[in-house]
Symmetry: none
Subunit: 413 residues, 2 copies
Amino acid sequence: MCREAAIVSIGTELTTGRIRDLHGMYLSRLCTDLGMVVSGILLLPDDHAIAGRLRDLIGVEDLVIVTGGLGPTSDDITREIVAEAAGVELQFREDVWDTIRSRFRRRAPADSNRKQAEIPVGFHVIDNEWGTAPGFYGHVGRSLIVVLPGPPSELIPMCRRTVRPMLEKFFCVPVGHREVLTCFLIPESSLEEIAVAVAVEGVRWSTRAEGSRIVVTLTGGADDAQATFVQRIRRRIGSLCFAPGETSANELLLSALRLRGLRLCTAESCTGGLLAKLLTDVPGSSEVVWGGFVTYDNDAKKRLLGVTGIERYGAVSREVVAAMARGALDASEADVALAVSGVAGPGGGSPDKPVGTVHVAVARRGAPLRTFRLSLHGDRERIRSRSAVATFLLARGVIEEKDVDTDPLWDYI
Amino acid sequence: MCREAAIVSIGTELTTGRIRDLHGMYLSRLCTDLGMVVSGILLLPDDHAIAGRLRDLIGVEDLVIVTGGLGPTSDDITREIVAEAAGVELQFREDVWDTIRSRFRRRAPADSNRKQAEIPVGFHVIDNEWGTAPGFYGHVGRSLIVVLPGPPSELIPMCRRTVRPMLEKFFCVPVGHREVLTCFLIPESSLEEIAVAVAVEGVRWSTRAEGSRIVVTLTGGADDAQATFVQRIRRRIGSLCFAPGETSANELLLSALRLRGLRLCTAESCTGGLLAKLLTDVPGSSEVVWGGFVTYDNDAKKRLLGVTGIERYGAVSREVVAAMARGALDASEADVALAVSGVAGPGGGSPDKPVGTVHVAVARRGAPLRTFRLSLHGDRERIRSRSAVATFLLARGVIEEKDVDTDPLWDYI
């Protein structure tokens, strides 16, 4: 028999269209992965009147996940609404208050934070290491009610660490083997077509698209079926856009460099620091990242990197990006230099070099310099972020001496 | 009296987490703009059982917008569900079928397309020039029900062309004045306490926290009440952490520089390119951003910026960050240089300089150099992002010759 789940996100910022709901998709996929049927995703305002709507779900659904409205302000009333719907009182919990206070190091928590230590009677606390407000869960009739804070930076690690294992236990989900892989730059619809074409009996897949990457999780199938599936996908999408496990393009490049004891320098025009930022997001990247140049202005390209020929070839050209990479090697002690120059838009495009034209160079001491031309679509943010991901994947390919020119990656950018 | 609206999106691909809902935010903003209160956004599977849930809304809500499930396949059952909930039959409309056939220019429509010409009795057609399936609307009891196709490329132009003007006519509600302001770095709980303390009769506020900023929207109150409220908040949180309208710290700094014709250069250690990335996120920033240095390694600080004294003072020190800013001015043609060096963690802390210790320098040609020491907490991402925001706010304060040292900002970092 299929278990039924409902997902409720509370916040007037959702029902006035001020922010986009980020949890419905994540949580409904989580429930679907666990074999449940989601009967509805409800976004409701911070309003006591919604207690009735929550009450309608209790006793009907096997699982009700409620998110949002656990903050310290007066419009955060999820606690009250859940207690009301469950027909119990809220209880101030000293142990929870101690934990909340320990999160405030220098200044004392405000009085308004005290309400975050209130938990409905009979409910259990779900620890939140990533923020102030804990979550909580409890049974009301046949329904398990799980309440989680709204910020994705808190909800997602809490789900991974506590909620998912708990649901697996409560709903006795058989946890089989799961292969996880990451695909970069490929559109979700193309990946779906490939997955359908190479499907292996008994293996199900679910995908999670995040920016320029898609994380694929495989479940089911006979002994080697998942491995066969992975190999087939890899053969189709090539080695540059594929990685085993859940990873990111910056981490892949950092690993490839670390393994070879190479140090990196960046020279960025249109990405304006994004490459360096993404690389230094990773703790311990200082072993590998020597430094970088943001040469946004053409004078900066000349002065910091000794680039010539901008007037002749244009700042967005193979020649200039090659000179930037060479200049970065000359000006630094790094072994490898990456350079990017392109038209990120919205302005600056021309018939010859439309918005989305991006040149990339990868230079390594003692090896031939490589340049690539990308044609990307989308808005400024998308073009900048895909430029960064493509540069990391291409640089990794060059460093690992792969055949970068014939890789299927070029079908996707 | 406020009109109430509910938004229902139908599609099993939404409740299994296969695709993200794109309409809830768009339609709820549309309703909010028209002065309505959205009582809920519901995502429901393609399942006849949901007719009951739709029926619960009819007669209660003034407006019910239903999207999705108008396609030609067997799991597109929105038509049937709406007719069922409204208690009427579906009627095959020859005029609608003619329009659908005219959309198929080269090939003939499939038989399955015929169901797209079925409209609930008593409902009116909403023309769809952008796809096959028309929308429709009608009154059931006190509720206006509007049904629209799922693809955003059809729904959005249909809303602009037909639905919005129709709703404006049906529900002509005057939209009151709204002041919007942005606060930086202040915890949501502290801002709530201030708002409670300075409250003005009749003015309601709602907040939306996003990273290091909180956007506050004021509604209601007499003529000058909102302006009074804004002034009082500004007095309490000071001028550095406050801005009118919805804005970001990087945009504020860029405006301050642009106004004075100043060009900027960055020298980043722990933020590793984040400052430059955030500044160049803004289209047109090339007028202001000359370039930047990511001097992650100490050798990079020495070689690119001529920094001395790292061994004596440590890379995270007032002296080094001052030398970085000076070096960036010397090496560039910029008028203002920002330098940041700190311990972003998770490793690298010491009793003397724990994780979260960040030094910032702001250098302007011909003016005394200023340095600041921040003590931040949180994880690596939070420390880096708050370092960037604090640096932008402090730099703006220095450039605008504000009294930066006594600003309430120091209570929040």
